[in-house]
Amino acid sequence: MKKHNPTRRLTLITMLLAMSILMHMLEPSLPIPVPGVKLGLANILGLITLILFDVKSMILLNLMRVVIASLLRGIIFGTGFWLSMGGVFFSTIITLILYKTNKFTPIGLSVASSAFHGLGQIVVLILINQTAMMIYWLPLLWFSSVPTGWITGNISTQVLKRLKA
């Protein structure tokens, strides 16, 4: 799919971006029994973009997703925006590092992405509140990143299988 013409490429990335914004905005309303834990459905689209296209497209998609979703929700440059940005920054970095090793499947990439998304949010919370004890929530986010990352990784694998078929 990387060799498709620029128009098709732009159209596909735009569709992926639209879907990731939709996921980003709808996800908080999904009932998850653990407070503060989310599935990370929007990360599926980032991972698909990375595997189908390239690193640059994934970074752009993730950044634009946070900015546009925050604009639509009216929280741009608010605490929620910086939390999302911190999470996306850390999760994108770790995903790219692990992806470059060529040793991990989308499940491993999703789990790492989910874990580092939580780490990024904790770092932002520590910076905002000037309280290192925000790290108290990190074990919960790391532990929950395994089932959530496994679910999103499996969804990514299935979608990629169908897209490549």
């Binding site: 491993g108 509140n129 790290i135 919960l140 532990f143």
Partner: protein, 126 residues
């Protein structure tokens, strides 16, 4: 899922359990007999609660009133106006340094050890 994925998952699970154990040990060990809860709104202290007295408090958050309850040396956010009520779902907190973060209301509650001011602290020794 390959062996690298499995190794990564095991690493994350083990590190989260170790970190959780360390944090729990730390908050229990660092909690003294006399503790106060400090309530901040947009990083500014707005209320200091004596945890030894059972009482109810109301503070103004960004989205509305935040109701705080203190009972048996433990504290919780009883109810608040927010989209998902994560703050009140968290439940009772009794140990120092465990934060309650009400993000939409910009309210953070942190239990801290009460420091008594030693007498003559300001005296100059020559």
């Amino acid at each position: 899922m390959n062996r690298y994925d499995k190794f990564l998952i095991i690493f994350i699970l083990i590190s989260s359990v170790i970190l959780y154990g360390t944090m729990e040990w730390f908050v229990r060990a660092s909690t003294s007999d006399k503790v106060v809860a400090i309530v901040t709104y947009r990083e500014k202290e707005i209320l200091r609660i004596d945890m030894s007295v059972d009482n109810n408090y109301v503070v103004q958050g960004t989205l509305g009133d935040v109701f705080i309850e203190v009972k048996d040396r433990a504290l919780r956010v009883e109810k608040e106006t927010s989209p998902y009520h994560l703050c009140s779902i968290q439940g009772w907190v009794e140990f120092a340094n465990v934060p309650i973060v009400c993000l939409p209301n910009h309210i953070v509650i942190m239990i801290q050890n009460s420091k008594s001011q030693p007498e003559g602290e300001d005296s100059v020794i020559q």
